[in-house]
């Protein structure tokens, strides 16, 4: 066993898991509080990456890119909530699926029209482009930064949800919507803020991944489905659930991508194992969700008080 490789892969899994958490945390809140299925949540991820890329290209500063990107996505999220989502909270899930499917098409094409088809590379400052050595272990600096940022946001959300009045309303809203309404809270504003914060989280995830994979059209469409899996596995409305489920799924995906072909090669010819392994590791995530739904439909960590 190559321990350095294992640790590297665990770190990679952690990084993916935290990215999924950033996406899923907003999704799960919007889902839990507004009972709104937002398939186009991945579009915020994409838009965030493009905003950040544009500002980095103009100013040359990655930090400014992130800051302005966050503000930009917050505004886009608020606009979507204001003009579209708000009208749909009382309709059924089918309508949500259709409208947000339409939004995906709209966002993808708008990005194509504005930024072109070629995608956008986001240069990193030299400090971040290097590696960090710990003993014999060498890890990319930037990936460590993603992990740190992910954990930071998780801590921020933890404080927000457990220690503030907004968080109290969010928690109450996730488990009992009528109660929040009975408290005389301006529900519209609460929903708007939660929606826009959720969008910003997704946007942040997009900004963090773009320097690695580039910003591109439709980059959110694949990962959003995995983020949904995270939400369901974690328990709808539960930020804590999204955190743990994100890590579990990030690790499963990365570890099976790294070791599954070797494992499969023990029983089937290597050339088949090479093709089957990536597909099966992608499938694992869905198998996990189906098992969770079949045996524990409320998810692994449902919010307290939810049925």
């Amino acid at each position: 066993m190559d321990w350095n490789l294992l640790i590297t892969q665990l770190m990679n899994g952690l990084q993916l898991g935290l990215l999924l958490f950033l996406l899923a945390s907003g999704l799960t809140l919007i889902f839990g509080i507004m009972d709104f299925i937002n398939l186009s949540h991945g579009s915020f991820y994409m838009v965030g990456a493009y905003f950040c890329g544009t500002i980095v290209a103009k100013t040359g500063s990655f930090v400014l890119g992130i800051l302005f990107g966050l503000v930009g996505v917050f505004i886009v999220g608020a606009l979507v909530e204001w003009f579209i989502a708000r009208k749909l909270y009382r309709s059924d899930h089918l309508d949500h699926v259709l409208v947000t499917f339409g939004l995906i098409l709209i966002f993808d094409t708008l990005v194509h029209m504005i930024w072109g088809a070629s995608g956008m590379a986001i240069p990193l400052p030299d400090v971040l482009n290097g590696q960090v050595s710990i003993g014999t272990l060498v890890l990319p600096t930037y990936r460590l930064l993603i992990i740190a940022a992910g954990l930071g946001v998780a801590a921020f959300l933890y404080v927000l949800v457990t220690r503030t009045r907004l968080g109290m309303l969010i928690r109450a809203g996730a488990s009992n919507r009528t109660m929040v309404e009975a408290l005389g809270v301006n529900i519209n504003r609460l929903f708007l803020i939660v929606f826009a914060i959720g969008a910003s989280m997704a946007g942040l995830a997009g900004m963090l991944i773009a320097p690695i994979t580039e910003a591109s059209i439709g980059m959110g469409n694949d990962i959003i489905i995995i983020a949904f899996v995270v939400v369901i596995v974690g328990g709808i409305g539960s930020v804590k659930g999204a955190f743990y489920a994100g890590l579990i799924i990030g690790l499963i995906d990365t570890l099976s991508r790294s070791y599954l072909d070797d494992v499969l090669a023990l029983s089937i010819p290597i050339e088949y194992a090479e093709t089957a392994a990536p597909a099966i590791s992608a499938m694992m995530v869905y198998i996990l969700m189906a098992v969770v739904l079949a045996f524990r439909p409320q998810g692994l960590f449902p919010p307290a008080g939810a049925r």
Binding site: F31, I37, L39, I84, K87, L88, S91, H93, L94, D95, V97, L98, V99, F101, G102, L103, I104, L105, I106, D108, T109, L110, H112, M113, N221, I225, F228, V229, I232, I236, E271, Y272, T275, A276, A277, P278, A279, I280, A282, M283, Y286, I287, M289, A290, L293, A294, P297
Partner: protein, 319 residues
């Protein structure tokens, strides 16, 4: 029955008559490609009719129905790969494989409700998608080219654009009629009733789970027939045809045409395929128009195209 007494009825009658003579019309105006388009639309129509059975009438929003198109298509492709071309074999295989798969997954899916049902149906279809993606022997990502169509006795042959078209039309009309009968029979009443109020049905002594599961399986089997025809029509199959976005498009077609109406889904698929073709010819940004259409349709256009036809009749009455 009242086909000729309302404008909507007239429209559908005209549509059906047109479908019956379409190949000759297209030959006459020398546009053989239109027959291709229509064939594709009608195949998707079969899938939409099957989806409408569970989604429209039964209230089961499946985001994984494209998997059954894929299963049907691979039930043609894989035997053909081994030089088994018998059409009865293909159809029999498609019906049984889809039934077994729907029975197993449906039994799990139907334990859940609402959004969980949407997500778990999608999860299962993604599993099928990735399964075929991993089957190196059958082309994996690259898909399979089917060199010969399913073989049937001469009078039923699928060879040639015309005979394949009439096969498609035949299967479509049969499934439409079957769904129509089903919905008004004892079984259908339970399915429709359970959509609106499952608890009520249970209080009436009906074990809704068993009926819904049966309905899910029937729908999957009809959909697999669409897959068999699609495999024969495109002579090429790939896992792409069962990705979750394809399932989303199917829902879109059903809603666009008019959910839980008999002919609405067919209207939806025909419009969808034509729109896709025309818009794509105008601009590479055609997805934008599609997206806006979808949003507007849901926010303001309840009842879909079939509903619009209905409005026409109401307009007539009030004038």
């Amino acid at each position: 029955m009242q086909l000729l007494s309302t404008r909507r009825g007239l429209f559908y009658t005209a549509l059906l008559v047109f479908l019956a003579i379409a190949p000759w019309v297209f030959q006459w105006i020398d546009q053989p490609f239109y027959l291709d388009l229509l064939s594709r639309a009608l195949i998707l129509g079969i899938a939409a009719v099957s989806l409408n059975l569970i989604l429209g009438y039964g209230g089961m929003v499946s985001l994984g129905h494209a998997a059954y198109i894929g299963i049907g298509a691979y039930c043609v492709g894989i035997p053909a790969y081994y030089d088994f071309y018998s059409g009865w074999l293909h159809i029999g295989l498609a019906l049984s494989v889809s039934a077994v798969f729907a029975l197993i997954t449906g039994a799990i899916c139907l334990r859940t409700k609402g959004v969980y049902f949407i997500m778990i149906t999608m999860a299962f279809s993604q599993m099928v998608y990735y399964t075929f993606l991993s089957l190196e022997e059958y082309g994996a990502d690259d898909g399979l080219v089917i060199y010969l169509r399913s073989e049937f006795p001469t009078w039923l042959s699928m060879d040639g654009a015309f005979s394949l078209y009439y096969w498609i039309l035949g299967v479509l009309l049969l499934s439409l009629y079957f769904v129509h009968r089903l919905i008004h029979a004892r079984f259908g009443r339970v399915i429709v009733g359970a959509k609106f109020n499952e608890l009520r049905l249970q209080s009436l002594g009906v074990n809704t789970y068993r009926y819904r599961l049966t309905c899910y399986v029937i729908s999957a089997m009809i959909c697999s027939l669409a897959g068999v025809l699609l495999g024969n029509f495109t002579s090429f199959i790939s896992p792409e045809m069962m990705g979750w976005t394809r399932s989303g498009e199917l829902i879109f077609m059903v809603i666009m045409g008019g959910v839980s109406t008999v002919l609405g889904p067919l209207l939806g698929t025909i419009s969808f395929v034509l729109l896709e073709e025309w818009l794509a010819a105008i601009t590479v940004y055609w997805h934008l128009i599609f997206g806006v259409l979808l949003v507007v349709l849901v926010l303001y256009g309840k009842g879909g195209l079939d509903g619009l036809l209905g409005l026409m009749d109401r307009g007539k009455k009030s004038s």
